[in-house]
């Protein structure tokens, strides 16, 4: 007998261009059939009125382990992922110690397996200690199971070293995720440079800090033929640079975060430290450009940049607050409310940016409901109304800019590797 039958859901699989009411059958941890299913199964889920789609993929999260487990662990972060509908997450290497060697990558994978919730894939560092001077053993780190390389949090400032990394990483087939921000332009900026920063008396980071970095990395990727992924794009100019590079055929991908797709620099007024993020929240024109980029595919993926911090890291002076916000438990609902609820995106378009598009950017066989694929599935109730309450998060991080907001849509059932997980 089959394992799980999900009946009468609106099955959306952008990879196959599928959007129809159907049954979905899971056998031996894999997708068996989509259609009208008459077979019995051990478990039957009634998904009438619900959306059935591939488990969501977040290619940019911080799980803080190894390091400060007061902020998050691989287990709590994985649980937060499941609660938000994510079955695959890519853990950034800026841990303490950083993931800059094969043993460290294996540690993350093993901890993820022990948690037995979401698929946890480590990203390895590009340079030893993320110091920007010497390449890591990218080949061995890829054999250990890494999904990407990044010095996230820092840009590789040496163009020569970045060119070498893009070239060498071709041997692994994995993308180089670049945190595009030139520190010589960003200076000590803590928010977007502009009128709001001038009024608040806070140091600003100009868009040029991001855009010159993106431009350089695009040129290097073009010349080396390396796989560049630009993570957390925040500016209209950045979107335009990536669009032009794609138009000339460069093999470049990019992601944007839910907060950059929904909030502007105005959010910093009142010195709300949840507005302290890197890159900073920009202007309405930038938000609009990012949304258009998601819509036309210039920006491939939506990634949360889930960055949990201990309360004292945020209950402090704005310019001393740790940058970053949590996102795993709010991404789906915020975007459903702000992008689908406003008819800017259709459900299949939003789901594509959270499933097959990040899967392709990473080169992993996930994010699809094709028969034979891993049974990573989420059942979404698109009508569920709820109010975001960070006190109830599964994540240890409470630093959520969307706290208290009303949203619509929620992950109801999450299946990873054919097993139903506790949401």
């Amino acid at each position: 007998m089959a394992d799980i039958l999900i009946k009468n859901g609106r099955v959306i699989c952008p990879d196959q261009g599928l959007d129809e009411v159907a049954d979905l059958l899971i056998t031996d941890g894999r997708i068996a059939t989509i259609g009208a299913v008459r077979e019995p199964a051990h478990e039957v889920i009634d998904a009438a009125g619900k959306i059935v789609c591939p488990g969501l993929i977040d290619m940019h999260v911080h799980l803080r382990e190894p390091g400060d487990c007061d902020e998050e662990t691989i287990a709590t972060g994985s649980a937060a992922a499941i609660a938000g509908g994510f079955t695959t997450i890519v853990a950034m290497p800026n841990t303490d110690p950083p993931i800059d060697n094969p043993a460290a990558a294996e540690y993350v994978i093993n901890k993820g397996r022990q948690a037995n919730l979401a698929n946890v894939l480590p990203a390895g560092a590009i340079t030893l200690g993320r110091e920007g001077t010497e390449l890591t053993e990218m080949g061995l780190i890829s054999l250990a199971g890494a999904a990407a390389f990044t010095d996230d949090g820092s840009w590789v400032t040496s163009a020569g070293l970045m060119a070498k990394a893009l070239k060498y990483a071709k041997l692994t087939g994995l993308p180089i995720m670049s945190h595009c921000e030139d520190p010589s332009l960003a200076g000590n900026g803590v928010m977007n440079a502009g009128r709001a920063a001038a009024e608040l008396g806070l140091a600003g980071t100009p868009v040029s800090a991001e855009e010159t970095a993106i431009a350089r990395d695009i040129i290097l990727a073009h010349e080396t033929g390396g796989r560049l992924h630009v993570t957390h794009v925040s500016t209209a100019g950045g979107v335009e640079l990536i669009r032009r590079a794609k138009e000339r055929g460069d093999n470049i991908t990019a992601d944007a975060t839910p907060h950059h797709l929904t909030l502007t620099e105005e959010f910093a007024r009142g010195y709300n430290t949840n507005a302290r993020v890197n890159p900073p929240l920009r202007t309405k024109a930038d938000v609009d450009a990012l949304r258009a980029g998601i819509k036309d595919g210039t920006i491939d993926a939506i990634a949360s940049d889930h960055a949990p911090h201990a309360p004292q890291e945020k209950a402090c002076e704005f310019d001393k607050a740790a940058p970053g916000v949590v996102g795993l438990e709010t991404t789906l609902s915020m975007l459903a409310a702000k992008l689908v609820g406003t008819d800017f995106l259709t459900w299949p378009e939003l789901i594509a940016a959270l499933t097959i598009r990040p899967a392709r950017a990473l080169g992993i066989a996930k994010g699809t409901l094709r028969p034979g694929a891993d049974a990573d599935i989420v059942v979404i109730d698109p009508a569920a109304e709820w109010i975001i309450d960070s006190a109830r998060f599964v994540s240890r991080g409470r630093n959520c800019p969307f706290d208290g907001m009303s949203v619509v849509g929620r992950a109801e059932v999450v299946i990873a590797g054919g097993a139903i997980k506790d949401v």
Binding site: E199, G201, E317
Partner: protein, 305 residues
Amino acid sequence: MWDRKHLLGIAELSAEEITEILDKAQHYTATALDESTTSDKLRGKRVALMFFENSTRTRVSFELAAQRLGASVTAMQMSASSVAKGESLRDTVLTVDAMGVDFMVVRHSSAGAPHQIAGWVSASVLNAGDGTHEHPTQALLDMLTIRRHKNDFDGLRVGIVGDIAHSRVARSDLIALKKLGADVVLIGPPTLVPGAFAQLGAEVAHNFDNAIHNCDVLYMLRIQCERLGGQQFPSMREYCEFYRLDGPRMRRAKPDVLVMHPGPMNRGIEIAADVADGPNAVVLEQVANGVAVRMALLDMMNNHR
């Protein structure tokens, strides 16, 4: 009619509120420096001076103002206290609040710190300067000084000269002057006068010699070497050549131009000694007005505790 618990910045005040403070301060100018005329309006009230960043004139000015009104004043040594032991700002101010103070006068190197503190404590918070954001009591004493000499702000043209980008005084003065109806021109090298300030309602000029002739007030800012992150101009010599207010430049200015400076002055850098001591300068009068303005504020805020 004043009904605020805190004074956090000029930005949130209306022109009417600013005028109300100035009127009250005007009343106190007669008594502010007179030891014999202490009042008891703040008798039994406790004022904590919490200067997380060094200051002499602002701290002493607040201390004298509070004492004149009969309050008990505690000047806390923040640099030698729990802050140095790694305590968070929130814990530090909650601790002081728990001891029962009525007013916290806060100076802090982080923009917005007084606003955050106001959200944490039950005391009334007075911003005595936060990072590169605001210095509202300085702006109020400056407005009082200008009003006493020029009477009316309407049509008045004020040039603020120097490091605008890193100056909380420039921000607060600009906002106050615009609210009161004056025109403001910000003068300095492009690296120190960000274009974003034009959006705040100011004119921006980089050539001091061309901008000086129609100013009614010249407000010279201290070049704050300690606050400059990275090199904003090639050399002090070059800065002085273009922006120092000296004798030759004064001859281009209106004969009755008012010369102001928030102190402490770098004589020979942004202002020549003979100009600082000359007939147009009102630097010490600004200082005197500072005590009166702070008395007025404490008095008005005390009525709304």
